[in-house]
């Protein structure tokens, strides 16, 4: 298998310790859990998505493990502005703050709270929150406006995209036009399960988003598509569980990756993958980013 070197420069404006970040929504609610994931080998962490008001989230069941993945409908639970204090002990660490809002102005308001963020990741892609996430992230004009307004806070802006669109390239280009420093692809794929015995949907919210191994091929295809459409870095996200998956994502066009659902099997997934992925005599990652494009 191809092995690579650790990054020597910033990736998409963030000084990552390796090419793998903790994905948004996974163990990202508290400063202590984010700190723990950095200690366990994450090259950077993305926080739980923070919005303009505290939200308790959807009623349960909110997450169901299924074959080859997880379906969740958390409903964007978040402590809103209280989260500033939550992550203040992490100042100087590669902490990307995920933010959401219902309008560009709300994105701007939330961004204004986090002066210590290494970067912002705009959640324009959560598939199960009415009026937020993918509900507005399918509109190229709104995606561009949200990116522009957060960009005024002079930090790298990453835009996380939903795969639940006809043409992800169009949304990616809108983010690039708005000044995005990177695209993150993909958020979860809209999905649901039904209890046949109870004859009703399992999730409290009826439908949710599928993550994990099941979506890896969709994520690879999305990154491949975006790489042909935009000139900014792409962060690959969706179902990565092995070092070979990281290499595959990079060959599709990803400069770095985010890992989330693999935590279900092992909280040590970052160090486990790193042991296979990195070698002192490995090649620079830049040499394989996008190399599969024919």
């Amino acid at each position: 298998m191809i092995q690579i070197k650790l990054p020597e420069e910033e990736i998409a404006g963030v000084p990552l310790k390796n090419h793998m970040l903790l994905a948004a929504g996974i163990l990202g609610t508290t400063g202590a859990s984010l700190k723990r994931m950095l200690a366990l080998g994450a090259g950077g962490v993305v926080t739980k998505s923070i919005g303009p008001n505290p939200i308790p989230g959807h009623h349960g069941p909110a997450l169901i493990p299924v074959d080859c993945g997880l379906i969740n409908a958390m409903g964007l639970p978040n402590p809103s502005k209280d989260f500033v204090e939550e992550i203040s002990p992490l100042k100087g660490e590669p902490v990307v703050v995920s933010i959401f809002g219902g309008t560009p102005a709300e994105f701007g308001e939330v961004a204004s709270w986090f002066s210590n963020a290494a970067a912002f990741e705009l959640n324009l892609s959560c598939p199960h929150a009415e009026g937020y996430g993918a509900a507005i992230g399918v509109d190229p004009r709104i995606v561009q406006e949200c990116t522009e307004i957060v960009k005024t806070y002079n930090k790298p802006v990453w835009v996380k995209l939903t795969p639940n669109v006809t043409d992800i390239k169009m949304i990616g280009k809108a983010a690039e036009k708005g000044g995005a420093d990177a695209l993150v692809a993909i958020n979860t794929v809209k999905a649901m399960r039904i209890s046949t015995e109870l004859c009703r949907p399992v999730l409290g919210n009826v439908f949710g988003g599928l993550s994990g191994k099941a979506v890896f091929p969709i994520a690879v295809r999305s990154v491949y598509d975006l790489y042909e459409a935009v000139g900014i870095p792409i962060i690959g996200c969706g179902g990565i569980t092995t070092a070979d998956n990281v290499v595959e994502m990079m060959m599709a066009g990803a400069s770095a990756v985010e890992i989330g659902s693999a935590i279900y099997d092992s909280v040590n997934v970052f160090s486990e993958i790193a042991a296979d992925l990195y070698a002192e005599d490995g090649i620079p990652a830049e040499e394989i980013v996008g190399c599969a494009h024919v």
Partner: protein, 251 residues
Amino acid sequence: MSEMPEVVTITTVVDETPTVKTFVFDKLFAFRPGQFCMVWIPGVDEIPMAFSAANSITVMKVGDATQALFSLKAGDKLGIRGPFGNGFFPSGKVLAVAGGIGVTPLFTLAASGEVDTFILGARTKEELVFAEDLEKVSDLKIATDDGTYGFHGFVTGIIDQIDITSYDTICVCGPEMMMKGVLDRLVAKGIENRGQFSMHRYMKCAVGVCGSCCMDDHGLRVCKDGPVFTGDLIKSGEFAHHHRGPSGRKE
């Protein structure tokens, strides 16, 4: 590996006390004492709950979801996910200290013959749960806050009358201020690593992914790294100080 909720049918509802009921269902779950399950009340919510036997949960009415659960009767259906978490891992001579509905996981530990001495506390005599059964399987000592049965006071009052250092493992479950009282006494003797505390936190996923139940300062997940933690892991941080609600705000 799909872990969809297992749908069970309630066969019996037992009134344990005015505020506690046991729901017996028609399927068995292979759990270790101290492990928990997620109970799906269809159309309402899903909540963490300790097993009181392989085919039952024992529930105190504390909020909307448990109130909805209390309205269910034999023949009604629930969804069960689990068992989850680590459970107790006692060795040697074992003391169990339970307060209120925290008796449930420790009752299963005693029922499996793993408890030598059991200190059971409740607000008042009629809120004592499982006392008769515990009498048969352990050396049972009872405390009630109002003195209507046994020792008049808290479980810590009984602890102060015994030599706690004579126990190799002290398993504890109950209200957090009560558990703090026990931990303080273990710390005073320098034996907090012998304490095994079953923690309760707001949970959403129960499988170690979402982070809702993570505790300060180590970021440990109550659902996956716990719910049972040794005293040395919780003595600093949020224990008996704060916890987080559904939104993640400190309460």
